[in-house]
């Protein structure tokens, strides 16, 4: 796909005599294109535009006032804090898991990969429920935690745990296929030349995987900051304390304060746009070194 853009027009021209065999008639092409673009327009593009239309409906000053609200500021701070804890932890996990899985041959590897992907196939609400059952009042741990004054549920630790759960596979699943494709030759060479394990990782492996790593972190971060279902179950929605930005959107919306809800939502939409742009740049510039599937 990337190559197509660089092909001179003449290549397309020389293919013209065969067009009937490998493409549709012009009318059908136009029809399919209109269907595809209309579908994307109604279901994807319009919702994105709508966020900003609604956010700025009442003017710039209303927009800034909504964002300067203390509860909203606290929500922004909490979202950044949660992502700052969850993303690095899943980054370390992703690198460790990919190292073990891609650099060694051992039994049960395929099963381990399936288990790592598990959080993707669990509903976010169930991800939250899982921690409620583990730490809630009715659990075995609940009373003990309470008597020791440790708050996990309806507090920041619970939100962090739920976020880690839903973003768990992101970095690992980018790195595993990439590192499997790169093989073990470089590392074996480095080790045989006397490098230590850390040196090998730092100077040989990391430069090979850095763009793929960044790609995984980007997706992980977008989900971590935007997670709603899992976090809403464990948060308890204490305003200014345990509401993340997506929860703040919900609270404001349910209070019929749509303008403020969309103002907060617009920040998250901008995060999504930045994520998409960076993702596009990474795929375009470093497509070959991101993942095995992007050739």
């Amino acid at each position: 796909m990337a190559i197509e853009a660089f092909l001179p027009a003449a290549v397309g021209h020389s293919m013209r005599p065969m067009r009937k065999a490998t493409t549709e008639r012009a009318g059908v092409r136009l029809l399919l294109m209109v269907i595809a673009l209309a579908f994307l327009g109604f279901f994807l593009f319009l919702p994105l535009v709508m966020v900003f239309v609604e956010a700025f409906r009442n003017g710039m000053s209303a927009y800034w006032t909504a964002l300067a609200e203390p509860d909203t500021v606290a929500a922004i701070r909490l979202t950044l804090t949660v992502a700052a804890i969850a993303v690095p932890l899943n980054l370390i996990f992703g690198v460790a898991a990919a190292w073990a899985i891609a650099k060694f041959e051992f039994k049960g590897k395929a099963f381990l990969i399936t288990l790592i992907d598990l959080p993707f196939s669990v509903s976010p609400v169930i991800a939250g429920l899982v921690y409620v059952l583990l730490f809630g009042a009715g659990s075995a741990l609940g009373p003990w935690l309470k008597s020791h004054g440790i708050e996990i549920l309806f507090a920041v630790p619970g939100i962090v745990l739920a976020t880690i759960f839903v973003t768990f596979p992101f970095v690992a699943r980018e790195l595993i296929p990439l590192m499997q494709e790169q093989g073990t030759g470089d590392e074996e060479a480095a080790i045989s030349l006397g490098a230590s394990g850390w040196q090998t990782f730092w100077y040989v492996t990391l430069p090979n995987i850095k763009w793929g790593l960044l790609y995984g972190v980007l997706l992980c971060n977008a989900r971590a900051m935007g997670e709603f279902g899992a976090v809403s179950v464990v948060s308890g929605r204490i305003r200014g304390l345990t509401t993340t930005m997506p929860l703040q959107v919900e609270i404001l919306y349910n209070e019929y304060n749509a303008g403020a809800a969309f103002a907060v939502a617009s920040l998250l939409a901008m995060l999504a746009l930045v994520t998409l742009v960076l993702k596009g740049i990474l795929e375009y510039r470093f497509g070959d070194s991101i993942a095995a599937r992007k050739h």
Partner: protein, 286 residues
């Protein structure tokens, strides 16, 4: 722990000069167990300890059954729509050239990046009776938001990229020579698409279907704003879990969760079998 693992791993794994196997695998297993496996097994343990009588009572509760029906029904419809239009979108992106293609291609990933709550309120604003499209539909007497149709709209949004991104790379790999050969043998375009191209794409299309469906069944954030959440009509199973939890009815919440997990697992198993069958039947592809 790491030492025990590396000595256990010694028999399990091929020898290698690269260090760090015990440490990285040990950390991986420990982290995986702490964050995912132990908490998840809690749900299974809890629902197993409910006992049959209680489980059956919750399962036969009319509101639960309706919520499951709404969740799985809307997900099936949305995944089916996504398979049809997602395949067309992938085809257009792979085969045709048009201005702004790179932007369109990037927009496909929007549902991966846009938080579900944001998508939810935005879709509601568009499809509600006073929204851009909702008012249009309302003039024909059709209500979109706050009905099961609204649920399907939200599920189309979140499921679309799964289909496109699964089908697209396989489509790019299709060898045009096969199409040319079919054409030389006198097949016209529709025959080539139906009998040469689509069969090769079937495994990928089914995978995309499974992924979109699985994601849709568990979806919560984008749905609850647009659904209207009327019990028995437009209340999805994940929302009912949340409601039960807010009532401190942990048994009820766990039972619904267990049923959701069981039904999704069974459906994914069926789709996996279909996929294996289609791979055998149609040969190449994913």
């Amino acid at each position: 722990m790491a030492a025990a693992l590396s000595s256990a791993g010694w028999r399990m794994k091929k020898p290698s000069v690269i260090p760090g196997f015990g440490r990285t695998l040990g950390f991986t297993l420990a982290y995986l167990s702490l964050i995912v496996l132990i908490p998840l097994s809690g749900v299974i343990w809890r629902s197993a300890s409910l006992g049959w009588a209680e489980l059956v009572a919750i399962a036969s509760d009319e509101r639960t059954r309706q919520a499951l029906k709404v969740s799985f029904g809307a997900s099936l419809i949305a995944a089916t729509i996504n398979v049809v239009f997602g395949t067309i979108v992938a085809w257009v992106l792979v085969r045709y050239r048009f201005p702004g293609k790179r932007v369109v291609d990037a927009v496909v990933d929007l549902p991966f990046a846009l938080p579900t709550a944001v998508a939810g309120i935005s879709l509601t604003a568009i499809y509600a009776h006073n929204g851009w499209i909702g008012s249009l539909a309302a003039s024909f007497g059709i209500k979109l938001a706050f009905t099961p149709v609204g649920i399907v709209i939200a599920l189309i949004f979140i499921g679309l990229p799964f289909v496109v991104r699964t089908v697209q790379p396989v489509m790019e790999e299709i060898d045009k020579e096969v199409e040319e050969a079919a054409a030389t043998l006198g097949a016209h375009r529709l025959q080539i698409v139906a009998r040469v191209i689509l069969p090769g794409l079937m495994p990928a299309i089914l995978t995309g279907y499974a992924l979109a469906f699985a994601r849709a069944v568990g979806e919560y954030g984008s749905v609850i704003f647009i659904a209207g959440n009327i019990p028995y009509v437009s209340e999805i199973a994940p929302l009912l879990i949340v409601i039960r939890l807010e009532e401190y009815n942990y048994a009820g919440a766990t039972a619904i969760a267990a049923m959701m997990l069981a039904i999704s697992f069974a459906m994914l198993l069926v789709i996996n079998l279909l996929q294996a069958w289609s791979r055998r039947r149609f040969g190449h592809g994913d």
